[in-house]
Point group: C2
Chain length 465, copies 2
């Protein structure tokens, strides 16, 4: 592997630091927000039955957030005696009250369970409920978070905070940051653990540039790599959780995102550049492209990972149906903007050839006669049936050749997988071929960045000047 | 399997007999030709060194030819002391003289070795040279023929002659007759052996309708079926030669022709019809078809099996090159008429999609960088490179999309297999897409039957009314 000069690398890192490390002023602002929201939460929740305490967790508590992305997570801990339904109800009701009393805007969100999200002085604020449990006695999915915060925070110093911020900024800039199903990348906690493990950003990148899936990083000291691998056999990356040895912190990381991280790391050492932290704009062309677009309404009140799980499953199903029909599916992607979801599937062509070859049974099978009877005098038969090898074949005229028409038909007769929550929106879906007009319409709806990224196709750090 | 009534079957067989069994008059004519050619050959060859005797062999000697297809093969037998070169020279020189003195027209042909072919009173006549050897002491490929004639003739009676003629007429009518490479079907001798083995035409067909490749019929009584199969492992049909246990009489039969025979036999019992002996004309359409045509001169002075071996190899090579390039090859065929050879290849489309997906190496390979360098800033890159799974991909604009243009290019740069004898003719080949104009031109050249058969695609017995 060719390597750029150490001077160039240092220069790029200095520049990256200016992008990744928050200013004093941003830090001050976060402190103020943290204090006022925590105070408001404590005063609203403290009188409630089962309330134990509230605390700031996550990147604000650890001071590891990336510049311009401050976020305060306030965790309200309850006694395990409170039921899950009760906890959810209380968090929503009093979380809203607390944010209002602190002067923040708010809206309801759904993840594993509902939480309240708000903004105060330009800082994102979340109020999340969890159970106050001993290590290992997890009840809800977020009960580990306070332990994660303490594990990381107790191992940090100012240098490591800077290294973590550089690593997160690199992951954001290269498009591999985020453990949501829609992204399938690296969570903040995962990036922190990796920097701690390798001692710094550049040391982490050095190691990553040599990774190959499946990759195991055993942090608990209790399992060993082999054991960890057998525990998580379908993971591309296994990073065991020091707080819970039975959990893979990297379970969300897809093979694609892992590979993108590996490639970006290798490229960074050969061509160090600030573009890995601050990506250039995509340059898109849609001439000579055959892109099928499906636009539908975003169902409301659904946890985001449920929505994207279902949306990805749907688009995957349409893609594989198109493949089976004879189209070549090059790539696909799906994105949501406000109340709309747009799926794009790039094909080799928007229509299939006029005729299609049907493969029949071997002549020695009983069903050979049925094949002959079905096709010999059919009006759609163009040539044959004929024998080649020991099988029958026939060439048939296709009734429907267009990807758009076929997809509309499959949506009507449900011959593609239509997840429950998407049933109603997909009934009214807009299926069309991407052209100048629809491109303009989608851009005006807020999909411009998604469209440009899709049509360009390159990961951000590979984009031209 | 449904079966038609025995009455209908009998009626069809009566009608078929009228098509298959020669008239008294045709028999007389053949006798006259036989006598005069044999006399002429004897008188011309008898004075020559090494001449042993001349005799009539094949279907004329056995009286098993099919009506309207009389053919007289005169074999001139020489002592093994005569060299092959000498024998070939003598047969050509004096064969011509003999045919001329009998009043026949003639022309030179090449098979395993040269022979002289003529026509006298509407009867085809061949003068072939062979060695007078003991069983098993074969020198040339045709030395077995006199033994074949004697083996069959000694087992025939008038009923069996009629059965053989029906069987041959069925094979001719269904398109499976002929052991030449170009056809890959059943020879006359093979049909005779099969009728002898099963005792009659209908009994043969009954058995064939239940065949499945690889099928073994052991006639020598020396090998057993298992041994015969291991001796000829690549044959679809093995019929051991009673005259030579180490020879498979059916070695020319392809899996396709065997399967066609099986299918025709099954169909005959369900829908008995004279069409199995006298096939209806094909009905062809070329609308919405994408057929690539390659027309070239037939090289002269080549044994037919050499020519068709090379021609088939060439067309197969173009077909698989087209497949690799992204076309779907549905079927292909090749035919010669006079001095021209025409190859037809039916495709899904005459042009490929505008863009093509290129699959790159996994990101962890050294060559990943080369792939990125090659494609990242290439003018033909439409989208990407991107990462999916652990591999790189890129979408490229195609420079040449047309099957015709690509094939012309491959002929120029020899990136398809071009057999030695076709090199010169293919340099001047005409490569084009079949359309109304070229169709008319090819028809006027004598390819009408070939074109109609190809475009129809059905075996003759499956053609509509």
């Amino acid at each position: 592997m060719r390597r750029a000069s150490p001077e160039l690398l240092k220069e790029v890192l200095r520049e990256a630091e200016r992008l990744a490390v928050p200013t004093e002023e941003e830090q001050e602002r976060l402190n103020t927000v943290m204090t006022s929201v925590l105070d408001a939460v404590r005063s609203v929740f403290s009188a409630l039955d089962g309330f134990v305490d509230a605390s700031v967790e996550g990147s604000a508590a650890k001071r590891t957030w990336v510049k311009s992305r401050p976020e305060v997570d306030v965790f309200v801990r309850f006694s395990p005696l409170v039921s899950r339904e009760k906890l959810e109800e209380i968090v929503v009701r009093y979380g809203i009250q607390a944010l209002e009393s602190a002067g923040a805007s708010w809206r309801l969100r759904y993840a594993d369970h509902p939480y309240v999200e708000g903004v105060l002085s330009g800082v994102a604020v979340n109020v999340v409920g969890c159970y106050d449990v001993q290590k290992g006695g997890w009840i809800s999915a977020v009960d580990r978070t306070p332990y994660h915060t303490r594990y990381v925070a107790s191992r940090l110093d100012d240098r490591l905070r800077r290294e973590i911020r550089l690593a997160k900024a690199f992951a954001i800039g290269t498009g591999v940051y985020g453990a949501e199903i829609k992204i399938g990348g690296f969570s903040g906690y995962l990036m922190e653990l990796l920097v701690l493990r390798f001692g710094g950003f550049i040391d982490l990148l050095e190691d990553v540039s040599r990774w190959r899936a499946p990759k195991v990083i055993e942090l608990t000291g209790e399992l060993g790599e082999g054991k960890a691998l057998t525990l998580f056999p379908r993971s591309s990356l296994v990073v065991t959780d020091p707080v819970d040895p039975m959990r893979n912190v990297a379970s969300a990381v897809t093979l694609t995102k892992l590979s993108e991280f590996v490639l970006a790391s290798k490229l960074f050492f050969t061509f160090p550049s600030i573009r890995f932290f601050s990506p250039p704009n995509p340059s898109a062309t849609y001439a000579n492209r055959d892109v099928l677009a499906i636009l539908f309404d975003r169902p409301q009140g659904l946890p985001v990972d449920t929505l994207w799980g279902e949306a990805l499953r749907f688009v995957r199903s349409v893609s594989s149906r198109l493949s089976r029909e004879g189209f070549e599916v090059r790539r696909w992607a799906v994105e949501g903007v406000e109340d709309s979801v747009l799926a794009l599937i790039e094909l080799d062509s928007h229509e299939l050839p006029a005729n299609e070859l049907r493969v029949g049974p071997p002549v020695w099978m009983e069903s050979a006669f049925d094949f002959l009877e079905k096709h010999s005098s059919d009006v759609l038969t163009v040539a044959g049936p004929w024998v080649s090898g020991e099988r029958l074949y026939v060439l048939k005229r296709r009734e429907v050749r267009s990807a758009v028409e076929l997809t509309k038909r499959w949506l009507r007769d449900q011959s593609v997988s239509i997840p429950k929550d998407l049933e109603a929106p997909l009934k009214r879906a807009d299926v069309l071929r991407l052209d100048g007009e629809s491109l303009m319409r989608f851009r005006s709806m807020g999909f411009e960045r998604f469209l440009d990224n899709f049509l360009d196709g390159r990961p951000p750090y590979l984009r031209g000047p």
